[in-house]
């Protein structure tokens, strides 16, 4: 799969986060929850308004569509 943003990625596919959020504060918040460049993630559940629940290191994080649109991923299946 070519690189895409996380809001366009399919549910359930193993993904590699290749670029995190450009806003330093948001990036730090994401990193504190384990969501940083180089980690494997997968989308678990769709939320209203385009948000998703992500699986990262066994934890679950709900993220809105605006943030997802800035996170670049690659399929690693």
């Amino acid at each position: 799969m070519t690189p895409t943003t996380l809001d366009r990625a399919p549910l359930g596919a193993p993904l590699l986060l290749t670029a995190t959020h450009p806003d330093a504060n948001v990036a730090r918040r994401l990193a504190s929850l384990g969501l940083r460049r180089g980690v494997r993630v997968s989308l678990v559940q769709k939320l209203a308004g385009g948000g998703r629940i992500l699986s990262v290191n066994g934890g679950r994080i709900a993220v809105d569509a605006g943030v997802l649109a800035h996170l670049m991923v690659e399929d690693v299946a």
Binding site: A31, V44, A48, I53, S55, N57, A62, V67
Partner: protein
Amino acid sequence: MSAPQSTRPVRTLPIAPALPTVRAACHGPVGEGAGADAPIIALAGAPNVGKSTLFNALTGLRATTGNWPGTTVDVGRGAWRFKPDGKVCACTECSGDCAVNRTSEFTLIDLPGAYSLDPLSRDEELTRTLLVDAPVAERPDAVVVVADAAHLARSLYLVAQLRETTHRVVVALTMNDVARKADIEVDSYALAEALGCPVVVLDPRRRQGLDNLARVVREALARPTPAPRLTGTPALDDLSRDDERFAWVESAVSAGTTGSGAERVSTSDRIDRVATHPVAGPLLFLAVMWLVFQVTTTVAAPLQDWLDGFFSGPVSDAASAVLGAIGLGGTWVEGLIVDGLVAGVGMLLTFVPLMALMFVLLALLEDSGYMARAAVVTDRLMRTIGLPGKAFLPLVVGFGCNVPAIAATRILGDARQRVLVSLLVPFTSCTARLTVYVMLGTIFFERAAGTAVFVMYLASIFAVVGVGLVLRRTLWRTMGAEPLVIDLPPYQAPTARLTAAVSWTRLQGFLRTASGIIVVTVCAVWLLQAIPTKPGYGFGDVPVRDSAYGVAAQTIAPVFAPAGFAQWQTASALVVGFVAKEAVISSWAQTYAVEEPEEGAEDLGDFGDQVAAAFESSSGGHPLPAVWAFLWFLMAYTPCVATLAAQRREVGLKWAVFGVAIGLVVAWVGAVAIFQVGRLFW
């Protein structure tokens, strides 16, 4: 609160004298620490790892806990007492009787949840100030970092940063049962080796492993402060430093754990398929809120009625009998005690079942982990007024009773959001206002009374959103919209001990604050009704019209002329409604010297006729717009003094007064607009 006095030499703070420190200026609401010489231990950790639960278990105090992020919104302080078990010092001379070994208590500081020492919120800023920015001598003697075994990596970034300082660090590993369910095995010895600090496995919810933690902390205190961990090149930029820390954390996690539940579909995932589903999620949320509302009102109602009857019947009778026996029967003393104090305290206590139920249900929702899902589901709606989804909950609670709703604003981590929601809660139409809607609806709209009541609930929602939008675009315009990034903890079965403890703490807080204000205000109203303003009447024996209360109502009444309800009796009902909406109908009826109508009665008799005549006369022949204006005013202005007391406690006196002003302005302007426009058509 005042911190315990330290016997250590007074040190100057040349850099930032105003900085709070764990020794000198903690402002926690929870409790006092141990003795002045007791070592100070800080409890730190990422949000939602069981930190406050551990604090409560170690100190016996009752900090607010919940299975979702942002529960600790202040700093708590408590005494952690334990039995010293054996020699922990490294002295070669002593036989175990030195000060280090005799220590049997610590002062424990519960810091707000923080993933790191780089603050993104006020709470995290406080954690950094106390642990890093304070002078070394003012810092705690050791830091216990509470870490979630099921999500170890995200708990250890803080450890990585703290290990770069000279803090003595002990890692307390919680959520081990959740980790085991996710097939994660933690080797605490290997983890301790990798982190370079002790690791203690414990379960604060079941109070297991606490003695071991005390022993390990004592041992850590007996050792010299550790050397900071080596981070490689000293001149790392922020990004490289972050990478280095994450690499260190990953290496420690790899060394200390085996297995990973990353790809498993857990029970929480299966529940979340419904709980956070775009369509089913909001429906489930509404159902849960409806259930909370229903259970609270329907289960509490008979108990409230019983308590009401108990205080107005046997307790009042007994008080009258006692006063009669000592020769004070029929005097103003009887009036003050029976009609003022007994009635006032009785009214407060009738709220106790409702509050207790509400607090229990909230605690269950919080402890189970559902609250984080509710925040996700309501996020989009609340975002329109710049608030996160979890702000929806206190507003929903407000439709039952505003007082617990104000307390429920604590679920919001951000102080500015808490203030904003506390100002919006009074616009949610509580059940006490419902009684007045029903009465006026029956008098003026007869069979359409139900529709009139429904319109008032819509008006209430309109007021919340409208005032929220105005405040958001004025005083709160600098409050940035937070992106939704929220940790969803696994669901867990709530424990009875935690639920009871949290509910009891909240109930105590309500009673402590509300009791004083309610008693004083009720007594003041009684006093005003007892003071005659004309000759020929005695104290406590005067018609309401000629009492100070009646005269005051007649003075205030003209203010409502532009809204069409300037009769003094109507104005007096609003004055009493300021104290409590529950008292509106009875005092209103009293001003007409007729019996209080039965709730829901179709035939309101003389009282209904007199109210109808009053609106007819004060509105210049446009009673319906005047009634709508009155209902709007009643819905929008200050709900009751108990709500004010709760606001004062949660957000301070200044904001409570500001809330009263907003309520009065919105109520009056809206009422005038409704009447002036309405009379053009009706």
